[in-house]
């Protein structure tokens, strides 16, 4: 695989969008839920990552709504984005498996995964 590994915010945003199209604030909330409250994206970071993902063709605009006179743009995963997320998941799973095996040898609980 020649692709550069996704950074955590990008991985989590793609994961958030894998379920259903989301608007900006929805993505922030979903990422917080997925990461068990560990990752709280700020608006600046969110839109920097969304812009990069959009430029790379991994996400696209699904629809736009105006709620309380404010624009809400919903983003969804593209086919390319879904494949990229799948590849990244395989890569991370492989790393987790190796880490788990080594931790089991040390008798640490992290190996139970």
């Amino acid at each position: 695989m020649t692709e550069v590994p996704l950074r955590e915010p990008a991985f989590l945003i793609l994961t958030a969008l894998a379920d259903q199209p989301q608007h900006g604030y929805g993505v922030i909330e979903e990422v917080r839920r997925i990461s068990d409250g560990q990752v709280r994206l700020q608006a600046g970071t969110l839109y920097a990552v969304l812009d990069r993902l959009r430029e790379a063709g991994l996400i696209e605009v699904d629809r736009e709504e105006v709620v309380q006179s404010r624009l809400r743009r919903y983003y969804k995963l593209t086919g390319l984005g879904a494949r990229r997320l799948a590849e990244e998941t395989v890569r991370l799973r492989r790393n987790v498996t190796v880490a788990g095996q080594r931790l089991r040898k040390l008798g640490l609980s992290g190996g139970a995964a």
Binding site: I28, G44, L46, A48, L71
Partner: protein, 345 residues
């Protein structure tokens, strides 16, 4: 001031293009994430917005300088600089020949080998540029710069730290940088087209041959009618020197006008960038000429150079950067992307 206004002020740090695409949406996200009664943006989100906006601007600036339009401008200026430097390299030879003929009535058997070498090397670079040989032109220009630096060190071993001694070599280095950063001399030739190239060639010929007239106007030739009264001698000497200086200044202005005309023949998008690069260089050249004794042949020979010492350095360090910054600002305003995504014509 409301929370929304404060958020809008923070979002104003983003470049216009980013604001046009995301600002309303981001404002909605920020307002959705705010607590009831909150009056100020949180510190963490403010820092996040300012940091990402700054990175966005830096990224845009980098992308702006690496786009092909700047490489095209560099190609145009690289071709022009090479042709002019070829003329400049021939200039001392034509001057030496003219003085020798004026004094002795015949051409010398040879001129100093270093002058001939430099002229031959720049002629070689010019041939490479006019032939459109990208892989040869830039390395050849750098070779000439290195050769010239070695010759200069050998000739002025006591002036190694004086940058004003190096200004001619710096000009050559700038030409080499332009050729290196360009999209290739072939592209530069195509952008200049025949008209632009003819104008540049005329400028180089004017630059190379203008000193031929000089010996006939110089204060040492012809000698003042003897026995001339002393005030009359100084009057004639001063008059002749002023004419010589005027000739030198006139040559610079004529060359500058021809090069400006040549740049004017190119596509407007390339032309604007070429002017932004060329204007600070031209200003720096003029400042150096007004700062050294031999600049513009010592315009009024009884007075020191107009920008001698600290004034010269201050002008050199402030005027060219100011012109570059002003040019970039005007370019940005001129080519700002509108809401439709299309830059104004």
């Amino acid at each position: 001031m409301t929370l929304e206004t404060r958020y809008r002020r923070l979002l104003a740090w983003y470049p216009a293009e980013h604001r046009a695409r995301y600002a309303d949406e981001m404002l909605g996200v920020l307002m959705d994430g705010s607590s009831p009664g909150q009056r100020y943006p949180r510190l963490r989100e403010s820092l996040d917005l300012l940091t990402t906006a700054t990175w966005r601007r830096l990224g845009q600036a980098r992308a702006g300088f690496t786009d092909s339009r700047w490489a095209d401008a560099s190609a145009v200026l690289g071709v022009l600089a090479t042709i002019l430097l070829c003329g400049k390299a021939v200039r001392p030879i034509s001057s030496a020949l003219a003085y020798h003929i004026a004094f002795y009535g015949y051409a010398p058997y040879q001129v100093h080998w270093s002058l001939t070498l430099r002229a031959a090397l720049w002629a070689g670079v010019t041939v490479a540029v006019l032939g459109g040989w990208r892989r040869i032109a830039a390395p050849a220009a750098w070779f000439v710069v290195c050769t010239d630096a070695v010759l200069l060190l050998a000739r002025h071993p006591d002036q190694r730290l004086d940058p004003l001694t190096w200004w001619a070599t710096m000009l050559e280095a700038i030409a080499a940088v332009l050729l290196t950063a360009s999209s290739g001399p072939r592209r530069g030739l195509r952008l200049l087209a025949r008209r632009g190239l003819v104008l540049a060639a005329v400028a180089a010929v004017v630059e190379a041959l203008a000193p031929v007239i000089e010996p006939f106007l110089a204060q040492d030739w012809p000698p003042p009618p003897a026995p001339a009264p002393l005030p009359e001698f100084y009057f004639f000497a001063s008059l002749r020197q002023t004419v010589v200086s005027g000739l030198a200044l006139g040559t610079y202005l004529a060359v500058a006008a021809l090069i400006a005309w040549s740049i004017n023949t190119t596509d407007p998008v390339v032309r604007r960038r070429a002017v932004i690069v060329a204007a600070p260089l031209a200003a720096a050249l003029a400042i150096v000429q007004l700062s050294v004794d031999e600049g513009f042949s010592g315009l009024v020979y009884v007075l020191p150079p107009p920008l001698s010492g600290t004034a010269g350095w201050a002008a050199l360090l402030t005027v060219p950067p100011f012109l570059a910054a002003l040019g970039l600002l005007l370019l940005r305003r001129r080519e700002r992307v509108g809401p439709s995504g299309v830059p104004p014509v």
